[in-house]
Homo-oligomer: 218 residues x 2
Amino acid sequence: MRIGIIGSGMVGQTLGSKLVSLGHEVTLGSRSKDNEKGLAWAAQAGPGGGCGTFAEVAAFGEVVLNATGGTVSLAALRAAGAEHLAGKLLIDVSNPLVFGPEGHVTLDPVSTDSVGEQIQREFPEARVVKALNTVNCELMVEPGRLSGEHNLFIAGNDAAAKAEAVALLGGFGWPAEWIIDLGDISAARATEMMMPLWLRMMGHFGSAEFNYAFRRPA
Amino acid sequence: MRIGIIGSGMVGQTLGSKLVSLGHEVTLGSRSKDNEKGLAWAAQAGPGGGCGTFAEVAAFGEVVLNATGGTVSLAALRAAGAEHLAGKLLIDVSNPLVFGPEGHVTLDPVSTDSVGEQIQREFPEARVVKALNTVNCELMVEPGRLSGEHNLFIAGNDAAAKAEAVALLGGFGWPAEWIIDLGDISAARATEMMMPLWLRMMGHFGSAEFNYAFRRPA
């Protein structure tokens, strides 16, 4: 499958490398064609990997992944172009983290809106699925790094798009029964709002190698 | 120990009954002295339980629990009186849920502030510890309802107050090693912001009988 990744940072590169290893054709998108991170990734990715502008990789992909920071995602996707997103599964991995002067990390938007909803509103013909934004990028593509069952969340308005996302996550190693469908795209608020706890827990464990699981009555 | 609970709703009553069963003297506080819920609870609580105004129960308690809704907690604690909170462990169990017209639940404050911080700022002589706000009230007082280890979070500026809170939670059945200290009171933002996910998960499970646990590498 041809997959276009919007964003050539660590998250985009990690997702891209895994997807290439699974036999997909992947291009990593940046604001400019000569982005050093994109070129360096493509050079070592082998024949399955390339890079280009946001618009080029969105046009290339049958599926598009948004791996930009949540506060710049709308701008990046506007540059990608609505016409290159229409009808496509668009997996939004972003969190709208705002790093404050006192070390506090806040979210914008938060509570009454989310990046997932912003993207779906601005690109109504894209089939947006929020996913993967609750774990470190190493875990995104290798859930077996942790012992036992742990969970991912998906949210979106299009049931078929969610099923396609679950299949793609299955390739990363996520069993379908570990993936919890929280409902429509407004549930992206819930998963984006887990970030402050995630950051505190990273401090607690001294590591990003952790994930949530749920306990129920026996 | 004498414990004053601010709030006579389901959370206050559940905490109160458990504390009475553990041998504490408990009073449940309401806005007015003749509050029906407070009187009804006191009537069935036995000699260990009473009720009164916010100010009366705060004056009574060696420890004070805030079990009001987070959007009205400051008003309730102002009625309780700063002089009755000074120097005391004040466990804040609240979440600032705002129920919107379309069924969406939002938080106010959120992200840049929290009820825990609001209370600590307004009552600087109280020793505020945020705790218990991430689980259903039945689970607060009976963690063994779920199988396996699962976690609570505490946050506060006063290490001794947090140790006292952990001891009190131990009486409810929470092993100290299940309780994760997230840091100073600003970490209340992180736990209050878990509410949207908690509400979605309640919908997913069709039950409030669940809690979070964490997975790490083997």
